[in-house]
Structures are given as C-alpha cells and as structure tokens.
C-alpha cells in the first residue's frame, strides 16, 4: 500500500504518489490545503524571528502615540493600552489585550527561536515537542495586525479634538506585523516538523 495523505478538513485519503511535495496541493473533495511546499530555508526563518524579537522590544520600549490637547500631553505604550483597561477595573479585558498584543507574539517568537537555533546548530533541542505545541497554540492568539487597525480607528476618532503624533513604536508595530505574518507563513507545522525530522536523520 502506498503512503497516504489524509485531508485535515474532511478526512479524505489521497495517495501520496499522486501528489508532488514541491507544490501546494488542494484536497480533491473539500479544497482544503493538504500540504505546504517544502521550500523555506531554516536560516531565513531564524533571521526573521530575530528581527521580530528586536521589533517587539522596540514596540514596547517607546510610546505608540502622543496626544496633545489643551496644553496637556499624554502618551501610551503597547503595554499601557492593556493597563488602561486594568486601571479602570476591567482586568480580564486588560489581560486579553496584553495576551494578544504582547505575550502571544513574544512566546511565538521565543518558542520558534528555541526550536530553530538548536536545529540550525545541529544539536538536539530540549523540550522540542512542548515548545512546538506551545507555538501552535499561541499563534492563534497573536493579533498584531488587528491591533494596528484598531489603533488606526482610535487615531481617527482622536484626531478631531486633539493633536496626534505617532511614535516610533507605531512604525515598529507595522514592521513587526509584516514580519510575523511572513514568519507564520514560512513556518507551517509541516515545515517545522520537516526540519526536525531532517535533523534526526
């Protein structure tokens, strides 16, 4: 019996010899993606992850926006936005914002680096399975691109009665968003496990 690929979305079995691994292939029945092509380089994934880590640090170190109205000036950082909810007694909402804009991106980047750097150096990473599982869970809650759009909405609403100056962190967030989306697309679960299996050979 030839190797079989089972569709993750409808359970239909496909014969592997009818599918080339270099191509993105769709399920014949439900049109879900069966597999992502094997192509991304380990080095570029590590480079992107390091880039994202630096951008995340900058995004949190500098103010996102500064607002001036009636001679008063106020600014906020990424974490400050989450603390705003907390300060007003909505701790759970603050936690949700903190989780989706700071913790999830951070864990996503760190877990990737802790798995990929040992693979690149050719050693067997510790806790690889757990890290990859955490990565898959945490990725779902990383909402940088939605946050950027939310920030845009807030700025448009404020611009009517105050002077708004975007900070360095806002631009870092835009770059971080692009970095993370590229990183997610080149480190699909299949690709990550391909790298892991190659290192074991």
């Amino acid at each position: 019996m030839s190797p079989v690929i089972v569709c993750p979305s409808c359970d239909l079995a496909h014969r592997q010899d009818s599918i080339r691994t270099t191509e993105r292939t769709q399920c014949a029945r439900c049109r879900a993606w069966l597999q992502h092509p094997d192509g991304a380089a380990l080095d570029s994934a590590i480079a992107l992850a390091l880039c994202a880590l630096i951008l995340l640090a900058f995004s949190n170190a500098y103010p996102l926006v500064t607002m001036q109205a009636n001679g008063n000036s106020r600014d906020t950082t990424l974490i400050g936005a989450a603390l705003g909810f907390y300060a007003q007694g909505y701790a759970s909402l603050g936690a949700l914002v903190f989780l989706t804009t700071v913790i999830a991106p951070l864990l996503q980047i760190l877990a990737l680096l802790f798995v990929l750097i040992p693979l690149w150096r050719g050693s067997r990473p510790r806790g690889q399975h757990t890290l990859l599982r955490v990565l898959m869970q945490v990725r779902v809650w990383s909402f940088m691109e939605v946050f950027m759009l939310g920030a845009l909405v807030a700025l448009v609403r404020l611009a009517k009665f105050a002077h708004i100056a975007p900070g360095i962190a806002l631009w870092c967030c835009v770059l971080l968003m692009l970095c993370l989306s590229e990183l997610t697309s080149i480190t699909s679960p299949e690709q990550l496990w391909r790298w892991v299996e190659r290192s074991r050979e």
């Binding site: 079995a13 939605v146 759009l149 909405v153």
Partner: protein, 206 residues
C-alpha cells in the same frame, strides 16, 4: 457509488498538531509518536462544546451591542457610546471608510460568525449531506474573519488610556466592551473546538 476512502475507513489518523499520519492508533488514549500530542479520530465532544460556546456568544452579543462600550466624560456631561453610535460618530465626522470598517468588523462579523456556526451545527445535528463543500467553505471563512472583530476592543483600549485629561475630558470603559471581548473570545474558541470533518462524515448525497 462506493463511499470514498477516508482516513477513518482505512484506519488512519491525522495528528492535527504536526500533521503526521498515524496507523493503528490505540484510541481513545493515544498520543502522536512524532509530537506526543493527544490524537483523536474526531475532536472530542466537538458538537456539545461548540454549541455551548455559540449559545453563550449569542447571549452576550446582545449586551455587547446595547451597553455602552465607553463613556466620554467632560465637565459638561457624560456621553455614552455604544458600538453603533461610535460608527455614527465616525460617519458624521466624514471618515466613512473607517466607519464602514468598524461596522463590518464589530457588528457584521460577530453576527455572521454566530449565525454561520449555528447553521453548521444544526446541519450536522440533522445529518444532512447536502452542500457539504459550501458548508466547509463557510466554516473556513468564519475561521479567517474571526479575529478581526477584536478591532474595537483595541480602539477603546487606546482611547481610554490616552483620553485622561483631568477635569476636561476622560473616557470611561463600559461593560459593552467587556461583553464584546467575551463574544470575540467565545467565537474564536468555538471555531477551534468545531471539527470540520463532521460535515463530511455523512454518506454522500446521490
């Protein structure tokens, strides 16, 4: 027509975490040999858990839209804003692309998600085998658009943090924002507990 060969009919199991194909898995207490995560033929109690989450989200959708998400307090008065009145404010100030964006992301998307999931759950419960491809595509759309409804929560978080000018103007968060955040989280989890393969488990329609 013979029923098509599926993972289940061939005794094969797909690990949803690492996409490994497993043979002879000893269900229901089996772990993937490659990534060590738990594997199941179908996600356990998918229908029941998803139904509970969707019902809870539908209930919370009402206060999310009726209660103010924030109140603007000036020395003159308090002005509460629901999501809809926020959209109208944006519309009046001429920024209609942003108004449309907020309307779609905050009002249309959550409603669509709740309705779509309800339709999908009902169709599985009835065991219908019609329009399976369309239903599958509907689910993938729900999965894709879900996260965008967090948009207004983020906007409120920034507004409430920035607009705190002593005695002149401040923005106070309302329970609408909380209910709204809860709707988003519940529907996101519901989309993850829903097992898409259940849509295809019925016999093909002739």
């Amino acid at each position: 027509m013979n029923s098509p060969a599926t993972g289940r009919s061939l005794g094969l199991l797909l690990c949803l975490n690492c996409r490994a194909t497993l043979r002879d898995a000893k269900l229901p207490h089996s772990r993937c040999p490659r990534c060590e995560s738990r594997v199941h033929q179908r996600k356990p109690h998918s229908l029941a858990i998803t139904t509970v989450l969707v019902v809870a989200a539908a209930v919370l959708y009402v206060p999310a839209n009726l209660l103010p998400v924030m109140t603007t307090r000036t020395f003159l008065d308090d002005e509460p804003d629901t999501i809809m009145s926020g959209v109208l404010v944006l519309l009046q100030s001429g920024s209609w692309p942003i108004a449309v964006l907020v309307f779609v992301a905050s009002i249309v998307v959550p409603l669509l998600k709740i309705l779509a999931l309800a339709v999908l759950l009902f169709s599985i419960w009835r065991g219908t085998s019609r329009h399976r491809l369309q239903r599958s595509q509907l689910f993938r759309m729900v999965e894709f658009i879900g996260r965008w409804s967090m948009l207004d929560v983020y906007a409120v978080s920034l507004l409430a943090t920035l607009v705190q000018i002593q005695s002149i103007a401040s923005i106070i968060v309302g329970w609408g924002a909380w209910a709204f955040g809860a709707v988003v989280v519940l529907t996101l989890i519901a989309a993850r507990t829903f097992d898409e393969r259940l849509l295809w488990d019925t016999a093909p329609h002739e």
